[in-house]
Amino acid sequence: MAFLLDSLSASLRLIASGDPAFLHAVWTSLYVSFWSIILAALIGIPAGIAVGLSEFPLKRTVITVLNSLMAVPTVLIGLLVYGFISRQGPLGGFGLLFTPTAIIVGDAILAAPIVANLALSSVRGANIAIIPTAMTLGGDRLQCVLTLLSEIRFGMMAAVISGFGRVVSEVGVAMMLGGNILGYTRTMTTAIALETSKGEFALGIALGIVLMAVALAVNVVFQFLQRK
């Protein structure tokens, strides 16, 4: 018990100290997570809406596939992207491996199915009267869809936030595609992995606390927006 308390107090002191390497890891996590979720939303939200609103023969199959994509392990995504951007891969010439951009791409691929699925659920769960009401009040096709989106905006926001939670806490993609390079691609999660392997529990716990705090903060903001 004393061990845990010691580690906890040491980690709190570390957070307070403002150690630059520590802060940079926090910043990198937020930076890559933010951009990857933007990318994921740009792909996932339109995809979820399109599938939700249209009728086509293989619709059930597509929905099942979309669902299964959420369970793809991060290391598999890391592997696939690695295959493309390593020197031996087709996009090797761009030198993208071991850069924050590579992590952003990998995390976007990770989060897109989550965002798409939750967006799809939102659309399917929306009140069926929304579009007919918008239509009879004179909306054209685009206006009706936009109205639908506005009515289910909290579901959409939840989709994006879910995706964010997933990417900010993952380590497989960040490690494989980023390389855990100090001051460049070291994120909170890869730093925790490193410090743990070194036996530096206090630092690992400190990073863990900040990670949880970030996840909590994002959710609190979301709750606040919903209340309004």
């Binding site: 071991f98 490690m175 390079i181």
Partner: protein
């Protein structure tokens, strides 16, 4: 027993441990982690014996009273790997220190373990001896294992310091070549230490001491010397010539 991942990955233990286990009717549970964690496990009494290759850290371990009876076991060596085109021109270097200096001067990419491992300690010693503080976009502290660092160096066309064992294991996977080897400064001595029973009464001290005796005795030394990968011996017994 706690040891380092590179020791485990070399495959030596698979040859070295069974005869001991048979002779003394026991089992050696190997926990292979980073050097820092190996020593920490010894500090907390979670293992009975520690087998690493970081002399300065080992000495501190004993001085702090966590371990007793440190003995040299063997040594292997490090090599400096780099791309065949050798952008920093270290083929022409006169010494290890000179090679590192050339890399720093050319600001050629160098991938470091960055994880307080034995290899990392050796790397830091060399920079210090050369009077250089490696900093800048060319110096990549990867915070990962040896295999990953070698692959990263290949990807970014940079240099790295690697233990010979892991290098041999990855030789066919990358196009990096050995650009500098054989210097005394690249020798890597291994030490075995028993965890102090005065600190942690529950440790199997007797068995630990027998293990140390075995490693440094005739039988152990023979197994070590005869261990080869790809026809090349990896470790050399003697040990005291290290630092």
């Amino acid at each position: 027993m706690s040891t380092t991942t590179s020791t485990e990955n070399s495959g030596l233990l698979a040859v070295l441990l069974p005869p001991f286990e048979k002779k003394f009717e026991c089992k050696v549970d190997v926990i292979a982690v980073g050097t820092g964690k190996s020593l920490k496990l010894g500090e907390t009494g979670d293992v009975d014996v520690v087998f690493v290759h970081a002399r300065s850290l080992e000495d501190k371990f004993v001085a702090d009273g966590f371990g007793v009876n440190r003995r040299d076991v063997m040594y292997n060596d490090f090599v400096i790997l780099g791309p065949p085109e050798d952008p920093a021109g270290i083929r022409k270097s006169g010494s290890v220190l000179d090679a590192f200096a050339r890399i720093a001067l050319a600001q050629a990419r160098f991938v470091s373990r960055g994880d307080e491992s034995g290899t990392h300690q050796k790397e830091k010693e060399i920079w210090k001896a050369a009077g250089i503080v490696p900093k800048g976009k060319w110096y990549l502290e990867a915070g990962q294992g040896m295999g990953e660092v070698i692959q990263m160096a290949a990807q970014v066309r940079g240099y790295a310091l690697a233990d010979r064992g892991t290098y041999i294991a990855y030789r066919k996977k990358t196009d990096l070549v050995v650009l500098r080897q054989g210097d005394r400064g690249l020798w890597n001595p291994y030490g075995v230490i028993a965890v102090n029973p005065a600190r942690h009464p529950h440790v199997k001290f007797g068995l630990a001491m027998k293990f140390i005796e075995y490693l440094t005795g005739e039988e152990g030394r023979r197994f070590i010397a005869e261990f080869k990968i790809d026809g090349e011996p990896l470790f050399f017994v003697g040990g005291t010539k290290g630092n």
